[in-house]
C-alpha cells in the first residue's frame, strides 16, 4: 500500500452540506445546530447586458429580467437531490449536486415576456441571497410564453455543481 496526497472526497461532499467551518460567518438559523435544515436556493435570470460572473457575491435585481408573472428574484429551485461524494480512484474524488427538476418561468395560463437574456444566477435565498454559480446559454427572448431551464444529468462528470480533486 502507498499513501497518496489528496483532499478527502468525503470532505468535499461535506462542504456542499455546510459541514465544515474554517472561519467565522454570519448565518441565518437552520433551526438546529446538530440536524440543520436545508437552505432554499433560487434561480434568477439576467439580461444580456448584465454583468454576473465569478465576482458576483449576491443576488441583485440590477439587469434582471422583468415581466408580468415573473417575481424579482426568480424561481425556487427544487432540491430533492442529496449531494454525492464518490471516489473514482485513490487520487480522483468528486462531490456533486444538481437541482432535481427543471426550472420553469411562466405557464400557459400565466405567460412571461422577457427581453434578451442569457444567464441564470443560482443563489442561497436563506443565507442572505449569497451567490452560488452563474450559468450562461445562448441569448433567448420569450414572448407571451414559457421558458424552461433543464439541468444536466447529475453525475460525476456533468452535475451542475462539481468539486473535484485536481
Amino acid at each position: 500500500m502507498a499513501n497518496t496526497q489528496s483532499l478527502c472526497t468525503s470532505f468535499m461532499g461535506q462542504l456542499l452540506n455546510g459541514g465544515h467551518q474554517f472561519g467565522s460567518i454570519t448565518l441565518t438559523s437552520r433551526t438546529s445546530l446538530t440536524a440543520p435544515t436545508k437552505d432554499t436556493f433560487k434561480a434568477a435570470l439576467y439580461l444580456v447586458g448584465a454583468t454576473v460572473n465569478a465576482s458576483t457575491t449576491a443576488y441583485s435585481a440590477t439587469n434582471e429580467v422583468s415581466s408580468t408573472n415573473y417575481t424579482a428574484g426568480g424561481e425556487v429551485i427544487t432540491n430533492a437531490n442529496v449531494p454525492v461524494a464518490t471516489n473514482a480512484s485513490a487520487t480522483a474524488g468528486v462531490a456533486y449536486w444538481t437541482p432535481s427538476a427543471s426550472i420553469v418561468y411562466g405557464a400557459s395560463a400565466t405567460p412571461v415576456t422577457f427581453a434578451a437574456f442569457d444567464a441564470v444566477l443560482l443563489y442561497n435565498s436563506t443565507q442572505g441571497n449569497t451567490a452560488v454559480s452563474v450559468h450562461t446559454f445562448s441569448s433567448q427572448t420569450i414572448t407571451a410564453g414559457v421558458f424552461t431551464l433543464t439541468m444536466p444529468t447529475s453525475s460525476t462528470t456533468t452535475a451542475l455543481l462539481r468539486l473535484s480533486t485536481t
Binding site: S6, A109, A144, V146, F147, T150, T158, S164, T165, T166
Partner: protein, 62 residues
C-alpha cells in the same frame, strides 16, 4: 389555443416556426408563432449540458 400577445388564439390561424441550437454547452429548442408578420408568441427550452467545475488541491508539504 395558445397564449399570444393578443390573448388566446387558435394555433391554426398562426404561422408556426421552430428551431434548435445544439452545442457543447446546451441543447435549446424554441417555438414561435407569427400573425401577419408579427411575433405573438415565443417559448424556449434550454437544456444545460455542462458542469460548473471547481478543482480542489491539497498542497505538498515537502
Amino acid at each position: 389555443m395558445i397564449t399570444t400577445t393578443k390573448g388566446l388564439m387558435d394555433e391554426a390561424l398562426l404561422d408556426k416556426r421552430e428551431g434548435t441550437i445544439e452545442n457543447d454547452n446546451e441543447t435549446t429548442t424554441w417555438v414561435e408563432y407569427w400573425l401577419d408578420g408579427e411575433l405573438v408568441h415565443r417559448s424556449a427550452h434550454v437544456a444545460l449540458k455542462k458542469s460548473m467545475f471547481a478543482g480542489l488541491e491539497a498542497a505538498s508539504l515537502g
